[in-house]
Amino acid sequence: MSNQLLKIENLCVNVDKKQILKGINLEINKGEIHVIMGPNGSGKTTTANAILNNPLYTKTSGSVLFDGKDITNLKTDEIARNGIFMSFQLPEEIPGISVTNFLKYAKNKITEKPVKIFEFKKEIKTYMEELKMNPEYMERSLNVGFSGGEKKKNEILQMLVLNPKLAILDETDSGLDVDAIKTVSKGIEMFKNKKNAVLIITHNTKILHSLKVDYVHVLIDGKIVKTGNQELAKKIEENGYEQYKK
């Protein structure tokens, strides 16, 4: 059995007819944590959206393989049901549906099995405690009136509950204070095992202080220009991205 989970080959993506990604290659194996770093506008969020096949992002060439299956042109919900999760930079507010009911509904869709509500609620509560979330949020409308930090924690909560094979975290650390970043890191550690993988997308290195990662990729102007280990992140922290720009 192959250990490979995600394989992106020569991916080119346009947004509003403008080319943003100019041939991305990326391989992620089970059990690994990868980080894509890069300055604003380099194509980080585009990479995440393209993997999930957001219709606003047009793939002009290249392919995305997941668990041996070509998912390049699958619909977003099918990709999610195949086991990819994305934590949003700006999670949407959905009035009138509680966090619990939403998670129950989504879990049903992903596992295609009915959820046992009592155990399920207990599970959610446990995760919320770990993430230092107020349990009252279970009954509140999804993300409505949540602070930025609460929204991000709620994304991590969803990741834990939905338990995907690959979690893509798009700027989950941005805008969080040190304690919240630690909590998020803890959530990632709880989630992580030998069979799944995490792809962290960030423009700064703060989260890497409390989390051990396997690979760091530097994304500049729609291309991965350098790949290394945690050391690479340190260098960027000291010297910035300038040396990787043309």
Binding site: L52, K75, D77, A80, I94, P95, K104, Y105, K109, I117
Partner: protein
């Protein structure tokens, strides 16, 4: 992104048509002769016959409204105003004829009653065919009966209140109603009696080209409380059907009334209904309205806050699909000190449907220290649907708190993508957003109506949300 619309409501269970059987159907058109005939058929007391004739005069004098949706397709000469079903009032469900019973069964009426509703009155065409009320309520002196019986047995109280709250001069369709009204519910809750389970009635039109002019008269006496639920439905015919009912609510000092409605008329119905409540000192009327059916709807329940400290809340939702023009809203008159009103109106339009929120808020100069807060939100599910807000605010004193908020929006692609990234299909995602939008209204409804409303919104999707 390819566009997926939330689908037309599956109306199958609402569109069950019975054979158009009736033992008597009056000639088309409207004359004093016809009004006299209606009156004779119904064994009206003389004052009621005179009242009907007066209303006919007013009807003939008044013009059709020149504002709002175009109702020129309506030809009153084409509408048979009185259809008497082939059965008399029954006290037991068993005695109702099979096909009529079948229709009600499909609509869940006796089931609803079994779920411990206090009483059910079902109106089939123009006469109430089935009526019942729990024993203990009768013992407490609560009266719940059809209008014809009330006219015979409680004539004084009917005469004192009948079309006093909604005068026949209000508009042409009210005058018409006064002339040809038939059927409807009468409720009286004596002083201090709290009816803690809802009373409900169900109106249904079956015959093509027939109008429905039921009259609802509810009196909640001092310190009493009641929740009344009205549901309306009609199967579909090609000719235009008219509904011009009238609802008069008297909420006396310190009393409470909650009036809930789900209107699901078929898509050829013109719903020109008039509803008003007169509210006494420290009393409260709450309206909860779901408007889904009909071709054209012009419906603006009105609260007249006459007593100091009187309150009203309006919570309403309209859902217009293809070919529907729902012009709904709310009117409130603050006519005493310290009165307050809260309006929460929502609308959803799709497939070219049109929703308008039309309202009147009047705060008289004797209504100092009053409060009014209005919020209306519209959701359009595509680019061809319409939504509009036409508020009229007439405030005649300075010492008031008044706020008005209006929001018109579409389902955002970002929200759909967010939900799809959690494994929901595009249809599921849209339905979840729409149900969530409607939730503040549906949570105000009794559970079986909330379920009905969700089914109406829901459409072809399984997995109801808990």
């Amino acid at each position: 992104m390819s566009k997926t619309n939330i689908d037309e409501i599956n109306r199958n269970i609402y569109d069950i048509k019975n054979k158009d059987e009736y033992d008597y159907k009056i000639k088309k058109g409207l004359t004093a002769e016809i009004i006299n005939e209606i009156s004779r058929q119904k064994s009206d007391p003389e004052w009621m016959r005179q009242f009907r004739l007066k209303a006919l005069e007013v009807y003939n004098e008044l013009e059709l409204p020149t504002w709002g949706p175009d109702i020129s397709e309506l030809n009153m000469d084409e509408i048979a105003t009185y259809v008497k079903p082939k059965t008399d009032l029954k006290n037991s469900w068993k005695d109702v004829p099979e096909d009529i019973k079948d229709t009600f069964d499909k609509l869940g009426i006796p089931e609803a009653e079994k779920k411990s509703l206090a009483g059910v009155g079902a109106q089939y065409d123009s006469e109430v065919v089935y009526h019942s009320m729990k024993e203990e309520l009768i013992k407490q002196g609560v009266i719940y009966t059809d209008m014809e019986t009330a006219l015979r047995e409680y004539s004084e109280i009917v005469k004192e209140h009948f079309m006093k709250c909604v005068p026949i001069y209000d508009h042409k369709f009210v005058a018409l109603h006064g002339a040809v009204w038939s059927g409807g519910s009468f409720v009286y809750v004596p002083k201090g009696v709290k009816v803690d389970i809802p009373l409900q009635s169900y109106f249904r039109l079956n015959s093509p080209e027939s109008g429905q002019f039921e009259h609802t008269l509810i009196i909640v006496d001092e310190g009493a409380s009641l929740h009344f639920i009205e549901g309306c439905s009609a199967p579909k015919y090609n000719k235009v059907n008219l509904h011009a009912g009238c609802v008069e609510l008297y909420v006396k000092d310190n009393a409470y009334l909650r009036y809930s409605t789900i209107e699901n008329w078929s898509k050829n119905m013109l719903n020109l209904n008039t509803k008003k409540a007169v509210v006494g000192k420290n009393a409260q009327i709450d309206w909860v309205t779901g408007s889904f059916g009909s071709k054209i709807s012009m419906l603006y329940p009105m609260s007249i806050l006459n007593g100091k400290g009187a309150k009203t809340e309006y919570t309403g939702i309209s859902f217009a699909g293809k070919g529907q023009n729902l012009d709904n809203g709310f009117k409130v008159i603050h006519n005493a000190e310290n009165t307050s009103s809260v309006v929460n109106a929502k609308s959803i339009s799709k497939n070219g449907g049109s929703c308008t929120y039309r309202s009147l808020v009047r705060i008289n100069d004797n209504a100092k220290k009053s409060k009014c807060s209005v919020s209306c939100e519209s959701l359009m599910l595509d680019d061809i649907s319409k939504s509009d807000t036409i508020p009229v605010n007439d405030i005649r004193t300075d010492e008031v708190e008044f706020s008005h908020e209006a929001k018109i929006g579409k389902i955002s692609d970002k929200a759909i993508f967010y939900l799809m990234s959690r494994g929901l299909s595009e249809e599921d995602a849209k339905a979840m957003i729409v149900r969530g939008f409607a939730y503040p209204i549906s949570k105000e409804l009794p559970i079986e109506y909330a379920v009905e409303m969700n089914n109406l919104i829901n459409l072809e999707l399984d997995g109801a949300i808990g």
